[in-house]
């Protein structure tokens, strides 16, 4: 029984706030503002959940977030994998330059990017498009993906790396045929990190893709509150809707995430 105590506490601390949001989402508005708060609503209602989809294009927002996050993850991986290969395995000068550049890029506060990127995309006609948000998000996720993959490649058995080179493959061939298939956990980790970074991003999504049809979930939820109304019930409902796919994905992939980091042999 004692063994269960700590994990249980950890579980509760992590999930309790989210469960409270679930309770809020199911509480009708007139009960919501009573003091003191009841633990469970007297008359649970699905009104808030329905309102989120009926009065706002929330389904569209979810889709937009998914498209942008997937695109950003794919693009980041596609560029980080060869880069990490060049940096960690082949130890090319260009690869190490890339690592340094990525670290420098990771230091830039997103707010400094907002206005310049807006102006650039405006001139290119890329505002309020998926690509216009996918590329910056991929760039934001790139440093982390690069680092994770570089660490992961370094942790791969030497025989594997040498086998790739001896085979007479070109560098790209070695990467594609030998290294990548053996690096699925690392790729999964990097991909998930990139996906979640893009899923959570707010400032750029607000500025570069604020129009209704490409609005992501973070922007949409941030737009719920207003001058005249602060619809806590709907906000809670929207939060729950956002959380559910995240929980599913995370539960399914938690082993990959952890193993990806483990095999990366941190340090050095």
């Amino acid at each position: 029984m004692k063994r269960l105590a700590l994990p249980l506490v950890a579980l509760i601390l992590c999930t309790a706030p989210v469960l409270w949001q679930l309770r809020t989402a199911l509480t009708p508005t007139d009960e919501l503002y009573r003091v003191p708060q009841a633990w469970l609503p007297a008359r649970p209602t699905l009104d808030h959940l329905a309102a989120v989809f009926a009065t706002r294009p929330f389904g569209r927002n979810l889709l937009n977030s998914a498209i942008v996050a997937t695109g950003a993850a794919v693009l980041a991986l596609a560029l980080a994998a060869p880069g990490a290969y060049a940096a960690s395995t082949l130890r090319l000068r260009g690869g190490r330059l890339l690592l340094g550049a990525a670290l420098a890029a990771a230091l830039v506060p997103p707010i400094s990017l907002v206005t310049p990127l807006f102006r650039i995309l405006n001139r290119l006609g890329g505002l309020n498009t998926y690509a216009g948000l996918i590329v910056p998000h991929a760039a934001l996720a790139f440093p982390v993906a690069l680092w994770v993959l570089a660490a992961y490649f370094r942790g791969l058995p030497r025989e594997l790396r040498e086998a790739a080179e001896v085979d007479g493959c070109s560098a790209a061939g070695a990467l594609w045929r030998v290294l990548l298939p053996a690096s699925v956990p690392g790729l999964a980790t990097a991909g998930i990190l990139a996906f979640i970074a893009s899923w959570n991003e707010f400032l750029l999504a607000l500025t570069l893709a604020g129009a209704d049809r490409v609005q992501t979930v973070t922007v949409a939820i941030a737009f719920f509150p207003g001058i005249e109304e602060f619809p806590w019930g709907e906000i809670a409902a929207a939060s729950v809707i956002v959380i559910v796919p995240v929980v599913v994905v995370v539960l399914l992939l938690q082993r990959r995430i952890v193993s990806g980091l483990t095999a990366g042999a941190l340090g050095g």
Binding site: Y33, T55, T115, R119, T207, P225, G226, I227, E228
Partner: protein, 470 residues
Amino acid sequence: MRRTILGWLLLAVSAERLLNVYLLSRHPSIFEQVDWRAPLAVGLLAGIAGTALLLRVRTGGRARKPPLALLTLALGIAGWMPADAETVTLAQFKPRDPASEAELLATFTARTGVRVRQRTLPNASDVQHQQFVTWLAARDSGVDVYQIDQIWTAEFAAAGWIRPAGAELTAGERAAFLPAPLASAAWGGRLWALPRFTESGLLYYRRDVLPAPPRSWPELVRVATALGTTGRSGYVFQGKQYEGLVVNFLEILWAMGGRLLGEDGGVAVDSPAGVRALEILAALLRHPGAASPGVLTYAEHDSLQEFREGRALMHRNWSFAWSLVEREGSRVRGRVGVAPLPGPASLGGWHLAVSAYSRRPAAAWALARFLTSAEAQRVKALVEGRLPTVGALYDDREVLRANPHFAALRDALALARPRPATPFYARLSGILQVQISRALVGAVSPREALAEATRQMAPLAGARSAGLPR
């Protein structure tokens, strides 16, 4: 295997798009405004492509001709998209009643043949400001008509972001507007926007507890301190660190005879009147029960909730709050009195301005004029309870029946004072917010707070347009 997944995915996309079009078609007025041809084409294309893929998988790649033919047909249909009819984009916060807004826009389209695309923004004023500034600074021509908070008029006009409106109204049309809102749409002697909605600060109070509302701010403090308890505080207002705090402060400042900017444009808030005004707010916070304890975190919504739940005796809010106070679900329904504030009230409101970068200024002005006309404002008054900016509507019988409090408000509006019209209002407000808030949390004394605010605001004051100071 991959093709099967892709095929089903395409069919899913197709179903979603077609469902989207179907749902839109159920609302004819919205249907007119939205571009439904694109989703229809995408839906058909995706459906045909998906079917083709799946068929191909099923038949092992032998059946080529029928899917190809269908694909060609689909492309042909997609190609048939009529030339883009003249479209004007309106950027506004989400209307309280979207259906009536859509109908108004449909009426406009029916009369002029100009379609209107709506770009909806959050209600939060500062987020709207950020978006508008970003677009306008980049000379974006994606939006033609902006629904702006009236405090931004000077800022946008000075920056050359909006077009002057003077030529758009005849003298008679100008006279139809209420003077106060119209004045707030002017700057530097010219008119820059058409007033659409107006607001004024009001005092809401529990008339079952208070026989009469207080006549002065010191009296309000006395009443709040005497009658307020932890369960039901005396007075609740907007004390969060944002623009609303400045509004609340200014109303008291003006009642004390003070001003934010002096006649010469210099900063004048650091005066005995200013210190008294800030001390009044601080006094409310000092005595337990006088003001709601959480008032420093409250904006309009939270403070209104306190009052609606019966946890405050008096409440300062904008005129829109009346309908919410009387709405079902409010615990104080039928027991609320509305009175002018014990001093000048602040003028709020929203104007329609035409972007300097709009490619269709004539159509944009036509839309702005339509939406600010008596006819359109009447609809808004009846459906949403919005205060009109056209004077004649305050005598309209139907409007008065739906909103009995409008009669008293007309006079209150005439007395409402606008906040200083300066291109740097956002900056001044930003500085003042922080200092007032510091005084209210007790970090500094009111005198020090105003002195510091004056110090930071001084370089800005007096600067009318060019010569941007630090």
